[in-house]
Protein backbone atom coordinates (compact mmCIF):
# COMPACT_ATOMS: atom_id res chain seq x y z
CA UNK A 1 0.00 0.00 0.00
CA UNK A 2 1.40 3.40 -1.01
CA UNK A 3 -1.45 5.55 0.24
CA UNK A 4 -4.22 5.15 2.77
CA UNK A 5 -7.88 6.05 2.31
CA UNK A 6 -9.26 6.50 5.84
CA UNK A 7 -12.95 6.11 4.99
CA UNK A 8 -14.64 4.50 1.94
CA UNK A 9 -16.27 7.79 0.85
CA UNK A 10 -13.07 9.85 1.04
CA UNK A 11 -12.09 11.96 -1.97
CA UNK A 12 -8.40 11.87 -0.98
CA UNK A 13 -5.83 9.39 0.31
CA UNK A 14 -2.69 10.13 2.36
CA UNK A 15 0.51 8.93 0.70
CA UNK A 16 2.70 6.83 2.99
CA UNK A 17 5.81 7.55 0.89
CA UNK A 18 6.65 10.36 -1.49
CA UNK A 19 5.29 9.52 -4.96
CA UNK A 20 6.37 10.92 -8.30
CA UNK A 21 4.34 11.96 -11.31
CA UNK A 22 3.54 8.96 -13.52
CA UNK A 23 3.92 6.41 -10.71
CA UNK A 24 1.24 3.82 -10.08
CA UNK A 25 -0.01 4.31 -6.52
CA UNK A 26 -1.67 1.45 -4.64
CA UNK A 27 -4.47 2.82 -2.49
CA UNK A 28 -5.57 0.77 0.55
CA UNK A 29 -7.39 1.33 3.80
CA UNK A 30 -11.16 1.92 3.90
CA UNK A 31 -13.07 0.61 0.84
CA UNK A 32 -11.79 -1.39 -2.13
CA UNK A 33 -8.07 -1.38 -2.97
CA UNK A 34 -7.38 0.51 -6.18
CA UNK A 35 -4.39 1.54 -8.23
CA UNK A 36 -4.14 5.09 -9.48
CA UNK A 37 -1.58 6.96 -11.55
CA UNK A 38 -0.14 10.03 -9.82
CA UNK A 39 -0.39 12.95 -12.24
CA UNK A 40 1.77 15.15 -10.01
CA UNK A 41 4.48 14.63 -7.40
CA UNK A 42 2.95 14.13 -3.97
CA UNK A 43 5.27 14.54 -0.93
CA UNK A 44 5.20 12.14 2.04
CA UNK A 45 1.99 12.49 4.09
CA UNK A 46 0.34 14.80 1.54
CA UNK A 47 -2.98 14.01 -0.16
CA UNK A 48 -3.70 12.49 -3.56
CA UNK A 49 -7.13 12.92 -5.21
CA UNK A 50 -9.06 9.68 -5.66
CA UNK A 51 -11.76 11.21 -7.90
CA UNK A 52 -12.45 14.15 -10.14
CA UNK A 53 -13.45 17.22 -8.12
CA UNK A 54 -15.06 20.46 -9.36
CA UNK A 55 -14.67 23.89 -7.76
CA UNK A 56 -16.93 24.05 -4.70
CA UNK A 57 -17.01 20.28 -4.17
CA UNK A 58 -16.58 19.14 -0.57
CA UNK A 59 -13.33 17.23 -0.02
CA UNK A 60 -13.64 14.32 2.42
CA UNK A 61 -10.96 12.72 4.61
CA UNK A 62 -11.75 10.57 7.68
CA UNK A 63 -15.23 10.50 6.04
CA UNK A 64 -15.60 14.17 7.07
CA UNK A 65 -15.33 17.44 5.11
CA UNK A 66 -11.88 19.03 5.38
CA UNK A 67 -12.62 21.87 2.95
CA UNK A 68 -13.74 22.56 -0.61
CA UNK A 69 -12.02 22.45 -3.97
CA UNK A 70 -11.13 25.88 -5.33
CA UNK A 71 -10.38 24.57 -8.82
CA UNK A 72 -10.93 21.43 -10.87
CA UNK A 73 -8.85 18.56 -9.51
CA UNK A 74 -8.21 15.37 -11.50
CA UNK A 75 -7.79 11.90 -10.01
CA UNK A 76 -4.15 11.37 -9.10
CA UNK A 77 -3.60 15.10 -8.47
CA UNK A 78 -1.97 16.64 -5.41
CA UNK A 79 -4.60 18.13 -3.08
CA UNK A 80 -3.35 20.88 -0.79
CA UNK A 81 -3.74 24.59 0.03
CA UNK A 82 -3.38 25.54 -3.67
CA UNK A 83 -6.65 23.81 -4.58
CA UNK A 84 -8.41 23.22 -1.23
CA UNK A 85 -9.71 25.83 1.18
CA UNK A 86 -11.12 25.55 4.68
CA UNK A 87 -14.85 25.98 5.19
CA UNK A 88 -14.37 27.29 8.73
CA UNK A 89 -13.68 30.67 10.31
CA UNK A 90 -14.69 32.43 7.11
CA UNK A 91 -16.62 35.70 7.35
CA UNK A 92 -20.26 35.04 6.43
Amino acid sequence: MDAIRLSPDDSVATVLRAVSRGERVRIGGGGADIVLEAIENVPLCHKIALMALRPGDRILKYGEPIGEATQAIRPGGHVHVHNLRSLRARAR
Binding site: C45, H80, V81, S86, A89
Partner: protein, 391 residues
Amino acid sequence: MTQRNERSFQGFHRADGSIGVRNHLLVLSIGGLTIPTARRIASSIRGALMVGFPYNAGSLLGDDRATWRRSIFRMPVHPNVGAVLLIGDNPVLAAEVAAEVARSGRPFAALTMDDCDHDAVTLTERGLRAAARLAMAISSDRRTPAPLSALCLGLECGRSDPSSGLVSNPLLGRVADRLVDAGGRAIIGETVEWLGAEHLLERRAATPAVAAAIRAAVRRREETAISHGLDLTGNNPGPTNIAAGLSSIEEKALGNVAKSGSRPIQGVLAYGEAAGAPGCWVMDAPAYASESLTGFTVAGAQLMLFTTGVGNSFVSALAPTLKVSANPVTCTKVGEQLDLDASRVFLGEEPPEAAADRLWQRMLEVANGAATWGEVLGEGDEVVARYGPAM
Protein backbone atom coordinates in the same frame (compact mmCIF):
# COMPACT_ATOMS: atom_id res chain seq x y z
CA MET B 1 -3.82 -4.49 23.80
CA THR B 2 -2.07 -6.77 26.29
CA GLN B 3 -3.78 -5.94 29.57
CA ARG B 4 -0.97 -6.48 32.04
CA ASN B 5 -2.01 -6.22 35.59
CA GLU B 6 -0.62 -2.83 36.56
CA ARG B 7 -2.87 -1.02 38.93
CA SER B 8 -0.29 1.16 40.58
CA PHE B 9 2.79 3.31 40.16
CA GLN B 10 5.40 4.56 42.59
CA GLY B 11 4.66 8.14 43.55
CA PHE B 12 5.24 10.88 46.09
CA HIS B 13 2.27 11.17 48.45
CA ARG B 14 1.61 14.77 49.52
CA ALA B 15 0.04 15.89 52.76
CA ASP B 16 -2.87 17.38 50.76
CA GLY B 17 -3.70 13.96 49.27
CA SER B 18 -2.29 14.52 45.79
CA ILE B 19 0.36 12.17 44.40
CA GLY B 20 3.31 13.30 42.32
CA VAL B 21 5.50 11.50 39.81
CA ARG B 22 8.38 13.90 40.53
CA ASN B 23 9.64 15.64 43.66
CA HIS B 24 10.66 19.03 42.36
CA LEU B 25 12.04 21.89 44.36
CA LEU B 26 10.22 24.70 42.57
CA VAL B 27 11.69 28.18 42.61
CA LEU B 28 8.68 30.23 41.59
CA SER B 29 8.86 33.89 40.73
CA ILE B 30 5.32 35.19 41.11
CA GLY B 31 6.20 38.50 39.45
CA GLY B 32 8.29 39.53 36.48
CA LEU B 33 10.85 41.65 38.34
CA THR B 34 12.29 38.78 40.33
CA ILE B 35 12.61 36.25 37.50
CA PRO B 36 16.37 36.90 37.08
CA THR B 37 16.89 36.34 40.83
CA ALA B 38 14.82 33.15 40.74
CA ARG B 39 16.86 31.93 37.78
CA ARG B 40 20.12 32.70 39.61
CA ILE B 41 18.98 30.77 42.70
CA ALA B 42 17.63 27.76 40.78
CA SER B 43 20.79 27.47 38.70
CA SER B 44 22.82 27.14 41.92
CA ILE B 45 20.81 24.25 43.37
CA ARG B 46 21.11 20.88 41.69
CA GLY B 47 17.74 19.69 40.40
CA ALA B 48 15.85 22.88 41.26
CA LEU B 49 13.26 23.98 38.74
CA MET B 50 12.54 27.63 37.98
CA VAL B 51 9.22 28.95 36.73
CA GLY B 52 8.59 32.67 36.32
CA PHE B 53 5.38 34.62 35.84
CA PRO B 54 6.42 37.64 33.80
CA TYR B 55 3.47 39.90 34.63
CA ASN B 56 2.10 41.52 37.76
CA ALA B 57 -0.99 39.47 38.54
CA GLY B 58 -2.35 42.46 40.48
CA SER B 59 -2.69 44.61 37.37
CA LEU B 60 -4.31 42.05 35.09
CA LEU B 61 -8.01 42.22 34.29
CA GLY B 62 -10.93 39.90 33.62
CA ASP B 63 -10.09 36.42 32.34
CA ASP B 64 -6.37 37.17 32.58
CA ARG B 65 -6.67 37.99 36.25
CA ALA B 66 -8.61 34.80 36.98
CA THR B 67 -6.20 32.70 34.91
CA TRP B 68 -3.07 34.19 36.45
CA ARG B 69 -4.30 33.96 40.00
CA ARG B 70 -5.31 30.34 39.43
CA SER B 71 -1.88 29.62 37.94
CA ILE B 72 0.10 31.37 40.67
CA PHE B 73 -1.88 29.66 43.42
CA ARG B 74 -2.03 26.18 41.88
CA MET B 75 1.43 25.75 40.40
CA PRO B 76 3.30 25.71 43.74
CA VAL B 77 0.94 23.00 45.01
CA HIS B 78 1.18 20.89 41.84
CA PRO B 79 1.45 17.19 42.73
CA ASN B 80 4.97 17.00 41.25
CA VAL B 81 6.23 19.80 43.51
CA GLY B 82 7.81 18.66 46.79
CA ALA B 83 8.93 22.05 48.12
CA VAL B 84 8.65 25.66 47.03
CA LEU B 85 10.70 28.80 47.22
CA LEU B 86 8.41 31.72 46.40
CA ILE B 87 10.14 34.85 45.16
CA GLY B 88 8.31 38.02 44.27
CA ASP B 89 7.98 41.77 44.17
CA ASN B 90 4.48 41.90 45.67
CA PRO B 91 4.51 41.09 49.41
CA VAL B 92 0.71 40.93 49.68
CA LEU B 93 0.39 38.40 46.86
CA ALA B 94 3.40 36.47 48.15
CA ALA B 95 1.78 36.15 51.59
CA GLU B 96 -1.47 34.91 50.02
CA VAL B 97 0.32 32.29 47.92
CA ALA B 98 2.50 31.30 50.89
CA ALA B 99 -0.66 30.66 52.93
CA GLU B 100 -1.97 28.37 50.15
CA VAL B 101 1.32 26.45 50.08
CA ALA B 102 1.33 26.18 53.88
CA ARG B 103 -2.20 24.68 53.77
CA SER B 104 -0.90 22.03 51.33
CA GLY B 105 1.64 20.89 53.91
CA ARG B 106 4.65 21.38 51.64
CA PRO B 107 7.91 22.77 52.98
CA PHE B 108 8.36 26.28 51.60
CA ALA B 109 9.94 29.66 52.05
CA ALA B 110 8.71 32.99 50.72
CA LEU B 111 10.88 36.05 50.14
CA THR B 112 10.15 39.32 48.43
CA MET B 113 12.20 42.31 47.34
CA ASP B 114 10.48 44.17 50.18
CA ASP B 115 12.04 41.78 52.73
CA CYS B 116 15.52 42.38 51.30
CA ASP B 117 15.82 46.17 51.16
CA HIS B 118 14.79 45.94 47.49
CA ASP B 119 18.19 44.48 46.75
CA ALA B 120 18.34 41.57 44.32
CA VAL B 121 21.75 40.45 45.62
CA THR B 122 20.41 40.15 49.16
CA LEU B 123 17.35 38.34 47.81
CA THR B 124 19.65 35.99 45.92
CA GLU B 125 21.73 35.20 49.01
CA ARG B 126 18.75 34.64 51.32
CA GLY B 127 16.88 32.75 48.61
CA LEU B 128 19.82 30.50 47.89
CA ARG B 129 20.19 29.53 51.56
CA ALA B 130 16.45 28.89 51.86
CA ALA B 131 16.39 26.85 48.64
CA ALA B 132 19.36 24.76 49.78
CA ARG B 133 17.54 23.90 53.02
CA LEU B 134 14.38 22.96 51.09
CA ALA B 135 16.37 20.75 48.72
CA MET B 136 17.95 19.01 51.71
CA ALA B 137 14.54 18.59 53.38
CA ILE B 138 12.93 16.82 50.39
CA SER B 139 15.98 14.70 49.61
CA SER B 140 14.75 12.04 52.03
CA ASP B 141 11.24 11.82 50.47
CA ARG B 142 10.60 8.37 49.00
CA ARG B 143 8.19 6.90 46.47
CA THR B 144 5.46 4.56 47.68
CA PRO B 145 2.77 2.67 45.75
CA ALA B 146 -0.07 4.78 44.42
CA PRO B 147 -3.19 3.90 42.39
CA LEU B 148 -3.30 4.72 38.67
CA SER B 149 -6.55 6.54 39.38
CA ALA B 150 -4.46 9.31 40.96
CA LEU B 151 -2.96 10.20 37.58
CA CYS B 152 -4.09 13.07 35.39
CA LEU B 153 -2.74 13.08 31.85
CA GLY B 154 -2.45 16.12 29.56
CA LEU B 155 -2.75 15.28 25.83
CA GLU B 156 -0.97 17.57 23.40
CA CYS B 157 0.14 17.74 19.76
CA GLY B 158 2.52 20.21 18.19
CA ARG B 159 4.18 20.75 14.83
CA SER B 160 1.74 18.14 13.62
CA ASP B 161 1.62 16.53 10.22
CA PRO B 162 -0.83 14.04 8.71
CA SER B 163 0.99 11.16 10.46
CA SER B 164 -0.12 12.71 13.78
CA GLY B 165 -3.80 12.32 12.94
CA LEU B 166 -3.26 8.98 11.22
CA VAL B 167 -1.18 7.17 13.86
CA SER B 168 0.23 9.12 16.83
CA ASN B 169 -2.92 10.84 18.07
CA PRO B 170 -4.99 7.63 17.93
CA LEU B 171 -2.20 5.98 20.00
CA LEU B 172 -2.63 8.67 22.65
CA GLY B 173 -6.36 8.03 22.47
CA ARG B 174 -5.83 4.36 23.31
CA VAL B 175 -3.61 5.23 26.28
CA ALA B 176 -6.07 7.89 27.47
CA ASP B 177 -8.92 5.34 27.32
CA ARG B 178 -6.84 2.89 29.30
CA LEU B 179 -6.09 5.43 32.03
CA VAL B 180 -9.73 6.55 32.16
CA ASP B 181 -10.79 2.90 32.50
CA ALA B 182 -8.37 2.63 35.44
CA GLY B 183 -10.16 5.55 37.11
CA GLY B 184 -7.75 8.30 36.08
CA ARG B 185 -8.22 11.62 34.27
CA ALA B 186 -7.24 12.75 30.78
CA ILE B 187 -7.50 16.26 29.30
CA ILE B 188 -7.26 17.64 25.76
CA GLY B 189 -7.21 21.37 25.03
CA GLU B 190 -6.48 23.48 21.92
CA THR B 191 -10.07 24.59 21.27
CA VAL B 192 -9.37 25.98 17.80
CA GLU B 193 -8.29 22.48 16.82
CA TRP B 194 -11.79 21.17 17.42
CA LEU B 195 -13.14 23.19 14.44
CA GLY B 196 -14.57 20.70 11.99
CA ALA B 197 -14.42 17.85 14.51
CA GLU B 198 -16.56 19.31 17.28
CA HIS B 199 -19.46 17.02 16.35
CA LEU B 200 -17.26 14.02 17.22
CA LEU B 201 -16.59 15.49 20.68
CA GLU B 202 -20.23 16.51 21.14
CA ARG B 203 -21.37 12.96 20.44
CA ARG B 204 -19.24 11.78 23.38
CA ALA B 205 -20.48 14.46 25.79
CA ALA B 206 -21.68 12.97 29.09
CA THR B 207 -24.71 15.30 29.12
CA PRO B 208 -26.48 17.62 26.63
CA ALA B 209 -25.14 20.58 28.65
CA VAL B 210 -21.56 19.39 28.04
CA ALA B 211 -22.29 19.06 24.30
CA ALA B 212 -23.65 22.62 24.27
CA ALA B 213 -20.56 23.87 26.13
CA ILE B 214 -18.26 22.22 23.57
CA ARG B 215 -20.24 23.80 20.71
CA ALA B 216 -20.18 27.20 22.41
CA ALA B 217 -16.41 27.06 23.05
CA VAL B 218 -15.75 26.29 19.38
CA ARG B 219 -18.13 29.04 18.24
CA ARG B 220 -16.36 31.60 20.47
CA ARG B 221 -12.95 30.75 18.98
CA GLU B 222 -14.30 30.78 15.44
CA GLU B 223 -16.07 34.13 15.97
CA THR B 224 -12.87 35.57 17.45
CA ALA B 225 -10.94 34.56 14.33
CA ILE B 226 -13.65 36.01 12.07
CA SER B 227 -13.99 39.28 14.02
CA HIS B 228 -10.23 39.83 13.78
CA GLY B 229 -10.21 39.01 10.07
CA LEU B 230 -7.82 36.15 10.73
CA ASP B 231 -7.53 33.49 8.02
CA LEU B 232 -6.78 30.35 9.97
CA THR B 233 -4.96 28.77 7.03
CA GLY B 234 -1.38 29.94 7.56
CA ASN B 235 -2.06 30.50 11.26
CA ASN B 236 -3.51 27.16 12.28
CA PRO B 237 -2.53 25.07 10.40
CA GLY B 238 0.70 27.09 10.54
CA PRO B 239 3.45 27.16 7.93
CA THR B 240 5.18 24.06 9.34
CA ASN B 241 1.93 22.07 9.39
CA ILE B 242 1.17 23.13 5.82
CA ALA B 243 4.62 22.20 4.52
CA ALA B 244 4.10 18.80 6.14
CA GLY B 245 0.81 18.27 4.30
CA LEU B 246 -2.04 19.60 6.46
CA SER B 247 -4.34 21.78 4.34
CA SER B 248 -7.05 23.11 6.65
CA ILE B 249 -8.09 23.47 10.28
CA GLU B 250 -10.74 20.80 9.72
CA GLU B 251 -8.15 18.28 8.56
CA LYS B 252 -5.92 19.11 11.52
CA ALA B 253 -8.82 18.99 14.00
CA LEU B 254 -10.10 15.61 12.79
CA GLY B 255 -6.64 14.21 13.54
CA ASN B 256 -6.26 16.20 16.75
CA VAL B 257 -9.39 15.01 18.56
CA ALA B 258 -8.30 11.37 18.17
CA LYS B 259 -5.91 12.09 21.08
CA SER B 260 -8.87 12.16 23.43
CA GLY B 261 -9.77 8.52 22.83
CA SER B 262 -13.32 7.31 22.88
CA ARG B 263 -14.64 7.62 26.41
CA PRO B 264 -17.45 10.01 27.47
CA ILE B 265 -16.43 13.66 27.89
CA GLN B 266 -17.19 14.83 31.40
CA GLY B 267 -17.08 18.55 30.86
CA VAL B 268 -15.41 21.67 29.44
CA LEU B 269 -12.73 23.06 31.76
CA ALA B 270 -11.63 26.69 31.85
CA TYR B 271 -7.91 27.30 31.28
CA GLY B 272 -6.04 25.65 34.16
CA GLU B 273 -9.20 24.41 35.86
CA ALA B 274 -8.80 21.04 37.56
CA ALA B 275 -10.89 18.07 36.42
CA GLY B 276 -13.24 17.53 39.35
CA ALA B 277 -14.04 13.89 38.65
CA PRO B 278 -12.37 10.96 36.90
CA GLY B 279 -12.76 10.58 33.14
CA CYS B 280 -11.95 12.39 29.91
CA TRP B 281 -12.22 16.21 29.87
CA VAL B 282 -11.72 19.00 27.34
CA MET B 283 -10.12 22.34 28.24
CA ASP B 284 -11.13 25.53 26.43
CA ALA B 285 -7.62 26.86 25.84
CA PRO B 286 -5.14 28.25 23.31
CA ALA B 287 -3.55 25.83 20.86
CA TYR B 288 0.10 26.88 21.09
CA ALA B 289 1.89 24.07 22.93
CA SER B 290 3.62 26.19 25.57
CA GLU B 291 0.36 27.80 26.72
CA SER B 292 -1.65 24.63 26.28
CA LEU B 293 0.66 22.45 28.39
CA THR B 294 0.70 25.03 31.18
CA GLY B 295 -3.11 24.90 31.23
CA PHE B 296 -2.81 21.17 31.95
CA THR B 297 -0.06 21.76 34.52
CA VAL B 298 -2.15 24.28 36.43
CA ALA B 299 -5.02 21.79 36.31
CA GLY B 300 -2.73 19.34 38.11
CA ALA B 301 -1.74 16.96 35.30
CA GLN B 302 1.33 15.00 36.48
CA LEU B 303 2.22 13.62 33.03
CA MET B 304 1.89 14.79 29.42
CA LEU B 305 1.75 12.81 26.20
CA PHE B 306 2.72 14.97 23.23
CA THR B 307 2.68 13.92 19.58
CA THR B 308 4.61 15.63 16.83
CA GLY B 309 4.79 15.31 13.08
CA VAL B 310 8.05 17.00 12.15
CA GLY B 311 9.54 17.40 15.65
CA ASN B 312 8.79 19.66 18.61
CA SER B 313 11.26 19.98 21.48
CA PHE B 314 8.97 21.84 23.90
CA VAL B 315 7.90 20.07 27.08
CA SER B 316 6.25 21.01 30.35
CA ALA B 317 8.67 22.02 33.11
CA LEU B 318 6.68 20.47 35.96
CA ALA B 319 5.17 17.43 34.27
CA PRO B 320 7.32 14.84 32.46
CA THR B 321 6.27 14.96 28.81
CA LEU B 322 6.55 11.88 26.60
CA LYS B 323 7.05 12.78 22.96
CA VAL B 324 5.68 10.54 20.21
CA SER B 325 6.03 10.61 16.43
CA ALA B 326 5.01 8.23 13.65
CA ASN B 327 6.65 10.08 10.77
CA PRO B 328 9.47 7.77 9.58
CA VAL B 329 11.67 10.68 8.48
CA THR B 330 11.20 12.55 11.77
CA CYS B 331 11.95 9.42 13.79
CA THR B 332 15.37 9.16 12.16
CA LYS B 333 16.14 12.87 12.64
CA VAL B 334 15.12 13.70 16.22
CA GLY B 335 15.92 10.51 18.09
CA GLU B 336 16.89 12.37 21.27
CA GLN B 337 13.51 14.03 21.36
CA LEU B 338 11.13 11.10 20.92
CA ASP B 339 10.20 8.88 23.84
CA LEU B 340 8.25 6.63 21.49
CA ASP B 341 8.97 5.91 17.83
CA ALA B 342 5.66 4.84 16.23
CA SER B 343 6.94 4.88 12.65
CA ARG B 344 6.53 1.13 12.26
CA VAL B 345 2.79 1.60 12.73
CA PHE B 346 2.84 4.21 9.96
CA LEU B 347 4.72 1.74 7.74
CA GLY B 348 2.23 -1.03 8.51
CA GLU B 349 4.85 -3.13 10.33
CA GLU B 350 3.48 -2.87 13.89
CA PRO B 351 -0.15 -3.13 15.03
CA PRO B 352 -1.38 0.10 16.64
CA GLU B 353 -2.37 -1.78 19.80
CA ALA B 354 1.23 -2.99 20.23
CA ALA B 355 2.59 0.56 19.96
CA ALA B 356 -0.08 1.79 22.38
CA ASP B 357 1.03 -0.91 24.80
CA ARG B 358 4.66 0.25 24.48
CA LEU B 359 3.56 3.83 25.13
CA TRP B 360 1.53 2.78 28.16
CA GLN B 361 4.50 0.85 29.58
CA ARG B 362 6.89 3.72 28.95
CA MET B 363 4.46 6.17 30.54
CA LEU B 364 4.34 4.05 33.70
CA GLU B 365 8.15 3.79 33.74
CA VAL B 366 8.31 7.58 33.53
CA ALA B 367 5.68 7.86 36.28
CA ASN B 368 7.95 5.66 38.39
CA GLY B 369 10.94 7.91 37.80
CA ALA B 370 12.51 7.07 34.43
CA ALA B 371 13.54 10.24 32.58
CA THR B 372 12.00 11.60 29.40
CA TRP B 373 14.27 13.01 26.70
CA GLY B 374 12.89 16.46 27.55
CA GLU B 375 14.06 16.04 31.15
CA VAL B 376 17.49 14.73 30.15
CA LEU B 377 18.03 17.68 27.83
CA GLY B 378 16.67 20.26 30.26
CA GLU B 379 13.84 21.35 27.97
CA GLY B 380 10.71 22.67 29.59
CA ASP B 381 8.97 25.84 30.57
CA GLU B 382 5.59 27.03 31.76
CA VAL B 383 3.82 29.83 29.88
CA VAL B 384 0.48 31.09 31.16
CA ALA B 385 -1.88 32.27 28.40
CA ARG B 386 -2.83 35.98 28.13
CA TYR B 387 -6.03 37.31 26.59
CA GLY B 388 -6.54 41.01 26.96
CA PRO B 389 -5.35 44.42 28.13
CA ALA B 390 -3.75 45.11 31.51
CA MET B 391 -3.40 48.14 33.78
